[in-house]
């Protein structure tokens, strides 16, 4: 993969945009990308699945009368770009429109100290061996360990017929460890990840501790009993606990869902949707965070957007098109998985701001409840607000104390009710990384919060 050269030359981009508007249209955009990466894994203490790739291509979209015409091609040669423009314009029947001359907008990519591609691959393999050893050192009940390393680079350029020309250069690294613990017939798994929009410097500070954490989770679950069933107070821990907010509220704030009437938050702007102790943000500029970028995939600068202020819904998350529909400015949330996808409103790093609750008190005030420390993932139907979460580390709360671990718990509920039922927000705070899927596209997102308590929620357990 070539270094330091933007994937798109402005002079060529202007010609391609003119071609895209040859049969009319109000707006045309060219998105060009070079992407590459390396992934490897360790399994059965052996390094395997070493994969290295490089792809390049471009997507052209033309907007006309509410319809988006989109074409994408592999390759960044002028002929490739022109073919994409011709294919996007092929179904249009109007008169030629003229794009404005391009004016470059400077953007500063997030700083990368140690480019992962400059680090010898054997060091990455050694990192995996260390993860493997650390996870296995947790005890004889750890039956299996797998770990993975991934680095990805995206060099993107966006040019559009409004005259915008902007580029970004994104590097992300991530490691993950998974442990399987076995005792007689019981089999439990634990997993942990570490990732950032940063270079190999992310691994300077004891990255291997994630392996110990994965093993600890799996071993804890060996002692777990059945999960309780029914409605009860639920305390959610920080970090990846924030995936609950991401799913139950964040998706409903994405403006495309809202405008189609497919969000339970439609029409609720300015209204109280939570208790006044809750304030939340989406922030695509958090330094080094997994969900951060310098610009979104439409060339808009990323920003910090307050979505809930003291319990009141104050903003949705917009890409260019949904912003135009609501006559507001884009919030820099137009993201796409690659040049093969159309940009849509997506979260970046979404979090509940720290509150005033002491984490210990948030738990000790609960007589009988459930403590969800981490989730395997979750799913929400934005239109109905119904959600479901799999808990992979959870405990019973009895008499204000965290007692025994539970396995197989699921949290089920409805967004509006659950958000309004948050009656405590902790003063602790941390972030975690995730991959979020929507409309067939996966993008890196950050989730975060401190300890949060929901006064009542349905726990679907395994207890008869």
């Amino acid at each position: 993969m070539s270094h330091g050269v933007e994937p798109l030359e402005p002079a060529i981009a202007e010609r391609v945009l003119a071609r895209a508007l040859a049969h009319g249209g109000e707006f045309a955009e060219l998105f060009a990308e070079r992407r590459g990466g390396l992934t490897l894994a360790i399994d059965e203490s052996r390094i395997e699945s070493v994969q290295s790739g490089a792809e390049e291509g471009a997507g052209v979209r033309v907007l006309s009368g509410g319809t988006t015409y989109f074409a994408h091609v592999d390759g960044l040669g002028q002929a490739d770009l022109e073919r994409a423009a011709d294919e996007a314009a092929a179904a249009l029947r109007g008169d030629r429109a003229e794009p404005r001359p391009l004016q470059a907008v400077a953007s500063i990519p997030l700083p990368i100290e140690q480019r992962p591609e400059d680090i010898p691959a054997v060091r990455k393999a050694d990192l995996l061996r260390e993860l493997d050893e650390r996870a296995r050192s947790a005890g004889g009940e750890i039956a299996q360990v797998t770990a993975s390393y991934g680095e990805a680079r995206r060099e993107v350029s966006v040019a559009n017929s409004d005259g915008l020309f902007s580029s970004d250069n994104r590097t992300r690294v991530r490691i993950g460890a998974q442990a399987v613990a076995r005792r007689d017939d019981r089999v439990e798994t634990g997993a942990e990840t570490l990732g950032a929009h940063r270079g190999f410097e992310l691994f300077d500070d004891d990255p291997v501790s994630i392996a110990a954490s994965a093993s600890r989770k799996a071993l804890t679950l060996l002692d777990a009993g059945p999960a309780p069933t029914g409605s009860m107070p639920v305390v959610v821990a920080g970090g990846f606990g924030g995936v609950l907010f991401h799913e139950m509220t964040g998706h409903g704030l994405e403006a495309d869902h809202v405008q189609k009437g497919a969000s339970v938050y439609a029409g609720k702007l300015g209204e109280l949707v939570a208790q006044p102790l809750l304030t939340a943000y989406d922030d695509g500029r958090l330094p080094g965070e997994w969900g951060s970028d310098a610009i979104d995939d439409e060339g808009a600068a990323t920003q910090k957007t307050r979505v809930i202020e003291d319990g009141r819904l104050v903003s949705f998350l917009y890409d260019r098109q949904s912003a135009a529909r609501d006559r507001v400015a884009s919030t820099g949330n137009g993201r796409r998985e690659s040049f093969r996808h159309l940009p849509i409103p997506r979260m970046t790093n979404t979090y509940i701001a720290p509150g005033e609750g002491e984490p210990e008190a948030i738990i000790s005030e609960v007589k009988k409840g459930f403590y969800a420390v981490s989730f395997a993932g979750g799913q929400v139907d934005p239109a109905t607000g119904d959600f479901v979460f799999g808990v992979n580390e959870g405990y019973l709360i009895e008499g204000g104390e965290v007692t025994r671990p539970c396995r197989g718990a699921t949290l089920v509920g409805n967004c509006l009710q659950a958000l309004a039922a948050i009656d405590a927000v902790g003063n602790d705070f941390w972030m975690k990384t995730g991959m979020c899927g929507k409309g067939g596209q996966k993008v890196p997102v950050g989730t975060g919060q401190g300890h949060v308590r929901i006064a009542s929620m349905t726990v679907g357990g395994t207890e008869a």
């Binding site: 399994d43 092929a90 069933t229 189609k260």
Partner: protein
């Protein structure tokens, strides 16, 4: 048109020359179209072409993989270099070697529908609009459609290997789906409708719209069921989702690594006798069908569960070497970007003789499940233990009764299979999480957690 076989052959030669080992190239060329409609308007029309090549190399038992989109001589050289460098990082594995030459590659017809090319963008847009319109017209309580989507794809694939096997084939596929919104007094409900075929002429847009409308409106007024253990009837889409999970657990890779609930159960009773399962990579109606699998081994039909007993696992060439078995032609991959790994082709659950009405009568009192959520977060793939969100209908007096939502069903994969008491007579192809054909499944007992 690019000669893909020749291209794959050049990549292999390049890799063999620079590594001295073995190499296998997989290359594909794809044309996709997608139409999304909303509110009677075309929201987007996408036309796409994709092509790329993935190269797997073996150097003294070390395996590396490289891929790219630049297919010029220089690009192929770069891909080969990446694969060779990747192999040098990997540890050696005594079972890693290229698959042997296939004896005979079966002929499979009907994988491609040339009519796809004759349908203009305007015509497929009309089809997508018809899908939306039929949902809106099906029931006055349908308040809208979140999105109606049409998608089609034509793909050419070629595989070449220094060990001699390989081949090429063409397939096409297309589908339409929508998410209908129904408005009731108690809130909003959604319902999915879908259909799939080899080409647009094979789709029934009206049935897609009607199905989405029916699924959304039948949920109006839904409540939480009482928590209890009871008989459960899974509709074909839900049954297919669980069968997709089962397909993953039947892969010899997870079995050999002790990460499957079915490991060490070969020959054992793992399901009720009514549950018969095959993997069939040659079935013309299955989207995963092809003459060869993702590493050039012939596809075939394999009995997985018969007479309630586990008959075999699914093998690719690596797991076959390692397990002292023959490949079942179950190497799969998600395009040129990923190396082959074990995966089911088309999973087919044999239909039984009972109609839906008969199954409901057999249940008597229980729950009908028509949707599950959180299948990927609520299932432990190693132990098979699951707890997933669900919605559906109560079954009372042998008939469908009030709608139910916001509850979970919990069990583990093997217990659930053993509890299968009957299968319905009307199977359906479902494309979620693999390619599966499943009828409704009657599960004798399962934990339902509501209020």
């Amino acid at each position: 048109m690019t000669d893909l076989v020749e291209l794959a052959g050049r990549a292999v030669a390049q890799a063999v020359a620079s590594s001295g080992g073995d190499a296998e190239a997989y290359t594909s060329e794809t044309e996709d179209r997608e139409v999304r409609v909303h509110g009677g308007e075309v929201e987007s029309l996408t036309v796409a072409t994709r092509r790329g090549l993935g190269l797997r190399v073996w150097i003294d038992g070390r395996v590396g993989y490289g891929f790219g989109t630049d297919l010029s001589a220089q690009g192929l050289e770069a891909i080969a270099l990446r694969a060779v460098e990747a192999a040098r990082v990997a540890d050696g594995d005594e079972f890693a070697r290229p698959p042997g030459t296939a004896a005979e590659v079966p002929a499979v017809t009907g994988l491609s529908d040339p009519s796809r090319a004759e349908w203009s963008p305007a015509r497929i847009a009309k089809l997508a609009l018809e899908v939306e319109r039929s949902a809106l017209g099906a029931d006055s309580r349908v308040a809208g459609v979140e999105q109606a989507v049409y998608f089609d794809s034509a793909e050419r694939v070629a595989i070449s290997s220094s060990a001699g096997n390989g081949g090429e084939y063409e397939t096409s596929s297309c589908y339409a789906y929508l998410q209908a919104l129904a408005e009731g007094e108690t809130g909003r409900e959604t319902g999915l409708g879908f259909d799939l075929a080899r080409g647009p002429a094979g789709l029934d847009p009206t049935s897609v719209g009607r199905e989405g409308a029916a699924r959304a409106t039948e949920m109006i007024g839904s409540t939480k069921p009482e928590s209890r253990s009871c008989p459960v009837l899974l509709d074909p889409t839900v049954a297919a989702s669980f069968v997709g999970l089962l397909g993953g657990a039947l892969g010899a890779d997870v079995v050999q690594r002790g990460r499957s609930p079915l490991a060490e159960r070969l020959g054992e009773e793992v399901a009720g006798e009514a549950f018969v399962l095959h993997d069939d990579g040659l079935e013309p109606n299955g989207f995963a069908s092809a003459p060869i699998d993702a590493e050039g081994t012939p596809r075939r039909r394999t009995a997985l569960i018969e007479a309630g007993r586990l008959q075999t696992f699914l093998y690719d060439s690596y797991t076959a070497q390692r397990g002292g078995a023959a490949s079942t032609g179950n190497a799969g991959r998600s395009g040129y970007r990923s190396p082959p790994g074990v995966s089911a082709s088309n999973l087919i659950v044999s239909p039984g003789s009972a109609s839906l009405e008969q199954l409901l009568q057999e249940v008597g009192e229980g729950v009908f499940i028509n949707d599950v959520a959180g299948l990927h977060s609520g299932v432990n793939p190693v132990s098979g233990v699951f707890s997933v969100g669900a919605s559906g209908r109560a079954i009372r007096g042998g008939a469908l009764a009030e709608p139910l939502r916001e509850f979970t069903i919990a069990s583990d994969l093997v217990s659930m299979l053993r509890a299968v008491r009957a299968t319905g007579s009307e199977p359906r192809w479902v494309p979620f999480g693999g390619s599966v054909s499943a009828p409704p499944l009657l599960i004798g007992e399962m934990m339902v957690s509501g209020s």
